[in-house]
Amino acid sequence: MADRPEFGAYVAARSSRLMRTAYLLCRDWPTAEDLVQTALVKAWLAWHRIEDDPDPYVYRILVNTHASWRKRRWRREVPTEPLPDLAGPGDATRVEDRDALWTALGALNAQERAAVVLRYYADLDYGRIAEILGRPPGTVRSQISRALAKLRVDEAMTPIPEGTER
């Protein structure tokens, strides 16, 4: 059990993809690396139970681990961790649409972002995403459309400057 050649092959083939997916979830490279490491350790431990396609399983660990880290993170002390609700660009400079879209993505909550990433980055259908997230496909569908709606209205929101007075 210590040597499962398929595990090494899987990681070699998928690590870059997993790193990117993890980054899109948490938006920070060191955290992404830790996330992938943790997911792979869990996957390794469960490898004998995983069937032909490990992707859904590994994605599920990535998403769940990320969610649990967000819950557990230190108060005030993890500035490199996932972006919480980030205010939009704080000054009057007009940013390009794609920058705005990226910023807006950061303002989605972890669940919505996971669904969006699995749909538009991993290119999975609603059925697979539902399987990974452990929710009915209908819920996933409405979650994604709600996320898209949020992104669409994001620019209209007046950015609230933070950090000076509260």
Binding site: V11, M19, E77, A87, V117, V153, A156, G163
Partner: protein
């Protein structure tokens, strides 16, 4: 904002591109998985008593992918004349007089932020005459003087004379603080052994010192402490045990110099933490070394 699904695909693909795949992911996962079977993290706690002072030192075993697992060293190092004993984990290169001496320069910082009804607690270190460096988030929103407790138990009062929420650095001016200053070492590299020192245990608890290893030196972008903007900073990621009160404390080299300022724990606490590099904090260190005028610590952080 108008965008198509293809825009969304493009943004996700684009933003995730500079993906650096860490070497040997599979091997590391396997080793960690295997040793998790055997209970991965062995944490030993030992208390030594000198006179009336009890010092607890937590020794975290390095991850299995590290070259050497430090065992606890029974030979204590004495903080000369300070009445406390702080054993240093037995990573041989850390068991040196310079390292032991450097622990005298680490202080506990406490303050009160009345507007958010919060008492703050963190670690700092003396880096220039009567100047203590710590994290901005450790003193954010504080009003009134800060409590600075030296390792010998002496209490002093300090005030914030430099506040840099973007870098997460603050400098305190502490008149009368007669503690030697720590120097910086800007050459930290992956694989270097380091000591995580600070006051994670809480108010008026002893200093703890834990061994770690530097994993990477890199630039990292993330929100500033108020989440009001993105900042890119030079950081060290390291393995070892980091707890909330550690923030603001130094990551020390085997020569007792400051590799970096610890500011965050990895979200999975088995994975160590993050420190701002000595280079990153150099400008603030210089500006703070001669400052005496109090500055605002702005608002509390969430």
């Amino acid at each position: 904002m108008t965008f198509t699904e293809d825009d969304l695909r493009a943004v996700l693909a684009e933003r995730s591109t500079p993906s650096r795949v860490p070497p040997d992911l599979a091997g590391r996962a396997e080793r960690r998985g295997r040793s998790r079977h055997r209970r991965r993290l062995t944490v030993g706690a030992t208390a030594l008593v000198t006179g009336a002072a009890t010092v607890t030192v937590v020794v975290a075993q390095l991850g299995p992918d590290r070259p050497a697992a430090p065992a606890f060293s029974p030979s204590p190092s004495i903080l000369g004349g300070y009445g406390k004993v702080v054993p240093v984990p037995d990573v041989t290169s850390l068991n040196r007089p310079e390292v032991h001496a450097s622990l005298r320069s680490i202080v506990e910082v406490t303050g009160t932020a009345p507007r958010c009804r919060r008492r703050l607690h963190g670690t700092g270190f003396v880096y220039a005459r009567e100047r203590v460096m710590t994290n901005a988030h450790d003193v954010a929103g504080v009003r009134g003087p800060l409590g600075v407790r030296a390792p010998n138990g002496d209490e002093h009062q300090g005030r914030v004379v430099l506040y840099d929420p973007a870098r997460d650095i603050a400098v305190l001016y502490v008149p009368g603080l007669a503690v030697p200053s720590l120097g910086f070492n800007r050459t930290a590299r992956a694989g270097d052994v380091a000591l995580i020192a600070g006051f994670p245990a809480g108010r008026s608890k002893p200093l703890t010192a834990t061994a770690g290893t530097i994993r990477t030196r890199q630039s990292s972008s993330g929100p500033d402490i108020y989440h009001s903007g993105q900042v890119t900073r030079g950081i060290l990621t390291f393995s070892g045990r980091v707890e909330p009160g550690n923030s603001g404390g130094p990551l020390l080299s085997d020569e007792g110099l400051v590799y970096g300022v610890i500011f965050a724990a990895a979200p999975d606490d088995q994975h160590g933490g993050y420190a701002l590099t000595a280079d990153e904090v150099a400008a603030d260190a210089q500006a703070g070394a001669t400052a005496t005028k109090p500055v605002s610590t702005q608002a509390c952080v969430d």
